[in-house]
C-alpha cells in the first residue's frame, strides 16, 4: 500500500497522516466526512487510500473503521456487542449495626438472633443478617435445642479469609482488646434503650456515621 517506498520522507509523511486520521476519528463525537479529513490533511493527501489502509488494519480487531452516512468513524466490532459489559465493584461501607452484629456472631457463635438482640440490646433488622450472609461472612449453624428450635449463626471460612485470620482462636481476646485500647471506657453519655434504637436506625440509613469512637447517641436525643 505504501507507495514511494524508496522515499523515506514520503513514508514518514504517510505515517503521520495515518496517525492523524486515527486520532481525529477517535476524538470526534460525530463521524467525520472525507472532505473534512482532506481539508485537515492537505490537498495532496490521498485520503481515500489512507482510509482504505486503516480500514484493513482495523478489520480483524476489536475496533473497526466504518463508513457511516457521509462520514467515517471508529466503532467497536459488531460481533463483540453482546460481550460489551463490565462488572464494576462499588466499595461500600458496612453500617455500624452490621459490623457490630458480625463482631458479636464472631465472638459468641453459635448464637441465635434472639441472643444477638439480647447482647446488643436492640432489635436486629432482617436486612443485617441477610447482608452478612450475602457477603459470605456468616451462615446458619445448627438449631438450638430449646423451645422454638431457633437457628444459630456462625462465621464462615470466608470470614476468616477476609479478615486474615487463620482460625477463630486468632480473634483477639478481651484482654488483647483492652491492651490495644479498644476497650477503654471514655467519658460518654448513654441514654436508655430508646436512644440505641435511634442510633441503629441512623447508622443503617447513613453509613457515613462510622464515627469509630463510640456513641453519638447524645446528639440525637429527642
Amino acid at each position: 500500500m505504501i507507495r514511494d517506498v524508496t522515499d523515506p520522507q514520503a513514508i514518514e509523511e504517510r505515517i503521520h497522516r495515518l496517525r492523524l486520521i486515527e486520532a481525529l476519528l477517535f476524538a470526534s463525537a460525530e463521524p467525520v466526512a472525507e472532505a473534512a479529513l482532506a481539508a485537515r490533511l492537505g490537498a495532496d493527501a490521498d485520503v481515500a487510500g489512507l482510509l482504505d489502509e486503516l480500514c484493513r488494519h482495523y478489520a480483524p480487531r476489536g475496533v473497526n473503521l466504518v463508513r457511516t452516512g457521509a462520514g467515517w468513524a471508529f466503532r467497536t466490532a459488531a460481533d463483540l456487542a453482546p460481550h460489551l459489559r463490565l462488572e464494576e465493584e462499588v466499595a461500600r461501607k458496612l453500617s455500624r449495626a452490621a459490623v457490630e452484629t458480625l463482631a458479636i456472631i464472631a465472638y459468641h457463635q453459635p448464637v441465635t438472633r434472639g441472643e444477638i438482640e439480647a447482647i446488643r440490646g436492640v432489635a436486629t433488622s432482617k436486612g443485617t443478617l441477610d447482608l452478612l450472609m450475602e457477603q459470605g461472612w456468616i451462615r446458619p449453624g445448627k438449631r438450638r435445642e430449646t423451645p422454638g428450635r431457633p437457628l444459630t449463626w456462625i462465621t464462615t471460612d470466608h470470614f476468616l479469609d477476609h479478615f486474615g485470620l487463620e482460625s477463630l482462636r486468632d480473634l483477639p481476646g478481651l484482654d488483647d482488646l483492652r491492651a490495644a485500647g479498644l476497650l477503654d471506657s471514655r467519658p460518654v453519655l448513654y441514654g436508655v434503650g430508646a436512644l440505641d434504637r435511634d442510633e441503629e436506625a441512623a447508622a443503617d440509613g447513613n453509613d457515613g456515621d462510622g464515627d469509630g469512637d463510640g456513641d453519638d447517641g447524645d446528639k440525637k436525643t429527642p
Binding site: 486520532a23 477517535f26 476524538a27 470526534s28 463525537a29 460525530e30 468513524a73 466503532r75 467497536t76 460489551l84 459489559r85 463490565l86 462488572e87 464494576e88 465493584e89 462499588v90 466499595a91 461500600r92 461501607k93 458496612l94 455500624r96 459490623v99 457490630e100 458480625l102 463482631a103 458479636i104 464472631a106 465472638y107 447482647i119 446488643r120 440490646g121 447482608l131 457477603q135 477476609h162 479478615f163 486474615g164 485470620l165 483477639p172 478481651l174 482488646l177 490495644a180 479498644l182 476497650l183 477503654d184 471506657s185 471514655r186 460518654v188 453519655l189 448513654y190 441514654g191 436508655v192 462510622g210 469509630g212 463510640g214 456513641d215 436525643t221 429527642p222
Partner: protein, 262 residues
C-alpha cells in the same frame, strides 16, 4: 511617583524595582513578594542573603507608604517581622526565649525555597499535555453495560473496634442511665380535673398544658399525657372533646352531670 524622589531613596537603600510597586496587585501575599524580590537578586535561593532581602522588602514598604499606596495588613506584619529579624541579625543578643536569628533566617529561606519549588512544579504540571486540550478521549463513547456490585470494605480493625465499642457500652450502660423526665398521665388527669372545674366553656386543650416547660421532650410528653387524660375524662363521662378537622385544635369542656355526650 517622581523619579527624583525615588533616586533619593535609592542612594540609601538597595534598589526597589519600580515594577514591583506598580504590580502590587499581582502578588499573592508577602511571602510571594519576598520570593519575587529574592529572584531579583539572581542568586540561588540556598545562598540568598536574608539580610539584603529584608532591606529590600523594608525599602519597598517604606516607599509604598511614602506614596500612600494601600498596603494590606499582612505586608505590614511581615515588614515588622523582618525589621525585628534584621535587628537580631545585626545585634546578636543572648536571648534564651527566642530561637537564634540565624535559625529564623534559615526558616524564611526554606519557606521561600519551598514556595519556589511549588511554583516550578505547578508550571511543569501545567506544561504537560492535558486531557481535553492536548490529548483527547474517545469522542463518541459507546454503551457498555456496567453491572455494579457492592463490595463492603470492613477491616479486622473495624470488626474489633465494633466489638470493643459494644463491650464498652455494655460495661458502662448501667452507670449512665439517665432518668427520663416525662409527664405522667396520672398527673395530667389530676390537673385537667382541677382546671376543667374552672372553665365553663369549650377551651383549647393546648391551653391546659403547663407553662414554662423548657425541655422539648417533657413538653411533648405533657401534650400526649393531657390528650390521653382528656380521653380518660371523656370515658369517665366528665368531659366532652371536639375537633373541627384533622390536625385542628382539640377543644375540651366539662360535661355537666347528667348531660348527654355530644
Amino acid at each position: 511617583m517622581g523619579a527624583g524622589d525615588f533616586r533619593e531613596d535609592e542612594a540609601r537603600t538597595p534598589a526597589v524595582p519600580e515594577q514591583l510597586v506598580l504590580d502590587l496587585d499581582g502578588f499573592e501575599g508577602p511571602i510571594d513578594m519576598l520570593l519575587a524580590l529574592a529572584r531579583e537578586q539572581k542568586v540561588d535561593l540556598t545562598t540568598i542573603s536574608i539580610l539584603a532581602l529584608a532591606d529590600q522588602y523594608l525599602a519597598f514598604v517604606a516607599e509604598a507608604r511614602r506614596v500612600r499606596l494601600e498596603l494590606a495588613a499582612d505586608y505590614l506584619v511581615m515588614a515588622a517581622w523582618l525589621a525585628y529579624l534584621k535587628s537580631r541579625l545585626l545585634l546578636p543578643e543572648p536571648d534564651q526565649e527566642e530561637p537564634p536569628a540565624e535559625e529564623m533566617a534559615a526558616a524564611l529561606a526554606f519557606q521561600l525555597q519551598r514556595l519556589e519549588a511549588m511554583k516550578d512544579a505547578a508550571a511543569r504540571l501545567m506544561a504537560r499535555p492535558r486531557l481535553g486540550i492536548d490529548i483527547f478521549a474517545r469522542g463518541a463513547p459507546e454503551e457498555v453495560d456496567i453491572a455494579r456490585t457492592a463490595v463492603y470494605r470492613v477491616s479486622l480493625y473495624d470488626l474489633l473496634s465494633a466489638y470493643g465499642r459494644h463491650k464498652r457500652r455494655k460495661d458502662t450502660a448501667v452507670l449512665h442511665v439517665e432518668p427520663m423526665r416525662l409527664y405522667s398521665i396520672e398527673d395530667a388527669v389530676h390537673r385537667l380535673e382541677e382546671l376543667l372545674g374552672r372553665m365553663p366553656d369549650w377551651t383549647m386543650l393546648q391551653t391546659f398544658l403547663p407553662a414554662g416547660v423548657r425541655d422539648p421532650l417533657l413538653d411533648r410528653s405533657a401534650l400526649a399525657a393531657h390528650f390521653a387524660a382528656a380521653l380518660e375524662l371523656v370515658k369517665a363521662g366528665q368531659a366532652d372533646l371536639h375537633q373541627d378537622g384533622a390536625f385542628g385544635p382539640i377543644w375540651v369542656r366539662r360535661r355537666a352531670p347528667g348531660e348527654e355526650e355530644q
